[in-house]
Symmetry: C2
Subunit: 338 residues, 2 copies
């Protein structure tokens, strides 16, 4: 086990306080197993954490710390940076709140600022509510694009869905299907395959086996239903493979996920959003973790949402949040060592 000072520094955010985020964060903090992997600092409003502790029915001790100040990592108390920006009593629970979405975004932006200042190596956030953030003024198609904007990132980055060591990624994401078709080119496919390969290696998979999905039905049926596979995808995959990445394809999209889930591949790179999401949601990837990959800061979050139907009942499972923290620590650790 690494000594405490060598462990990556991770910011844990409670997500949208109207959802189950504070409850599952309190459960993870009380359980304490994360201490093996990371130096974790909680970031958010003290009153939100208090609500989470009550909902979770756990015992938790924390110490308020100043941003950038010294933290006693040998203490068993959770260090908390209290932003004092969210009063859960005023925000309500179990339903979408634009005001809460605005605050969720502000807290994320604050944590990103800390990472930029060198105070954090990775960020894990409990579930947020995309609609609340948008209504609250964070007008991005998704939080990943917001992170990229705040980090002034240029070039490719992507959301990835991770479950049981399998990584599902995609070439295009939150754009119309027509726009996705226009965005798929050799550069975009190469970026997507190279990025998921890099992330999986960081996560400890020595030689990831990456399948690239076709765009057209039956992978184009030898050109009968589209020539993208012949003219674009296959030559691109072969070029990437020649560079040493174990990628193959294009495979018909309606069977490639079945083969991956059966263990033939560690990753499928989809051409567009629903291609991957139909398969991974049916397979229960909501139990897994969403990673924002390709930015200077690693972000992880449970793939599940705010689960408004079970808020305040004490029954929400902290498993995916726990996995999100472990994965962020692995990705950040190797990054530090690089």
């Amino acid at each position: 086990m690494a000594v405490m000072q060598d462990k990556p520094r991770l910011g844990l955010l409670f997500g949208d306080s109207t959802g189950i985020g504070p409850e599952i964060a309190a459960k993870v903090l009380a359980e304490g197993g994360y201490r093996e992997h990371v130096r974790l600092v909680a970031i958010g409003d003290k009153r939100v954490l208090e609500q989470g502790v009550r909902d979770a029915g756990v015992e938790l001790r924390w110490t308020e710390v100043a941003e950038g100040g010294e933290i006693d990592w040998d203490s068993l108390e959770v260090p908390l940076i209290d932003l004092g920006n969210a009063d859960p009593a005023a925000l309500g629970r179990g339903k979408m709140s634009p005001e809460s979405g605005k605050i969720t975004g502000e807290t994320l932006a604050h944590a990103i600022g800390m990472a930029q200042a060198g105070q954090l190596d990775a960020i894990t956030f409990a579930p947020l509510n995309k609609a609340a953030m948008f209504a609250g003024g964070w007008r991005f198609p998704d939080e990943h694009k917001m992170f990229a904007h705040l980090l002034k990132h240029e070039g490719y980055f992507s959301e990835m869905n991770v479950l049981d060591g399998q990584w599902m990624s995609r070439v295009t994401s939150h754009v119309s299907l027509r726009e996705a078709l226009d965005l798929i080119d050799a550069r975009a496919i190469t970026d997507a395959v190279e990025l998921v390969n890099r992330m999986m290696k960081r996560a400890g998979i020595a030689q990831p086996r990456i399948a690239v999905a076709a765009l057209n039905p039956h992978a184009g049926e030898n050109g009968l239903f589209g020539r993208d596979e012949i003219e674009l995808i296959r030559p691109t995959v072969e070029r990437i493979a020649a560079g040493g990445i174990a990628c193959t394809g294009p495979y018909p999209a309606d069977t490639v996920y079945i083969r991956a889930f059966a263990g033939e591949f560690d990753s499928v790179v989809a051409m567009y959003h629903d291609q991957g999401q139909i398969a991974t949601k049916l397979k229960g990837f909501n139990r897994g973790v969403t990673v924002t990959a390709g930015l200077d800061v690693v972000f992880t979050t449970p793939a599940h949402g705010t689960a408004f139907d079970i808020v305040g009942k004490g029954v929400a499972s902290p498993g995916a949040l726990q996995t999100a923290i472990e994965l962020a620590s692995r990705l950040a650790t190797v990054r530090l060592a690089a």
Copy 2:
């Protein structure tokens, strides 16, 4: 139980003789339960049926009958129209044969001619091999388009996948994704919903609950990722619903199948091939039946393929072929009564 003369007349074809078709056909014929539903006549080469009987390890008695001739429906012997066109010893087994694909197509065309001549009410065929048929000269994107061509059909028709009373259909099919986008309009969506509604009613579902899938990620996220849902799909669905069909949507494609499989809908109408196929193949619809709907003749076939890996081993399950025959009989019966 209806008297024999009121039952629909069904042609059963053995499919591609290089695959498991003859074996599962022999099993279904030997089991004989189909006699409750249909007046079945087997159509194909006697030697192919003999091979199927050997593979299946069953006892089967048949009588050769002349096309259009009288058939003794009280006899327990299977009436067979021997086309004498396929010598299984020359065609090989367990691998794709263009010659066998050519013959498979000829046999289908022959049965279609019989239906056009008023001798058959429906056709069920054991698995064929699309690549073999194409290589054998039947140059259609799929067999459904071949049937439509031979029947001189104009207008909409569609392949549907049926399992456990759920019917999965689609607006566009075997075309490139880009072409599919250009083909999706109010007429095409309406045709698809109306046809699946009609077929389900024929099959005995009183008021089918039909979900229409969205085209873009998150159903366009209120126009952020495409306006097709706002401008085209939602108004079309509302117009169809106003006409008395229980259809709703558009629903995000990455959750609508989960909801349907959980029992909320009897049918999902996909916008394009892979949207439906990714979901239904993952769910095991290969155990189900494929229906060609919207033509003058009803066609059904097992959704699974020729299963070259288990040819000749006697282990192939006849379940889906049996269900295909039952479904064809239900669809044809009601059609006769109409």
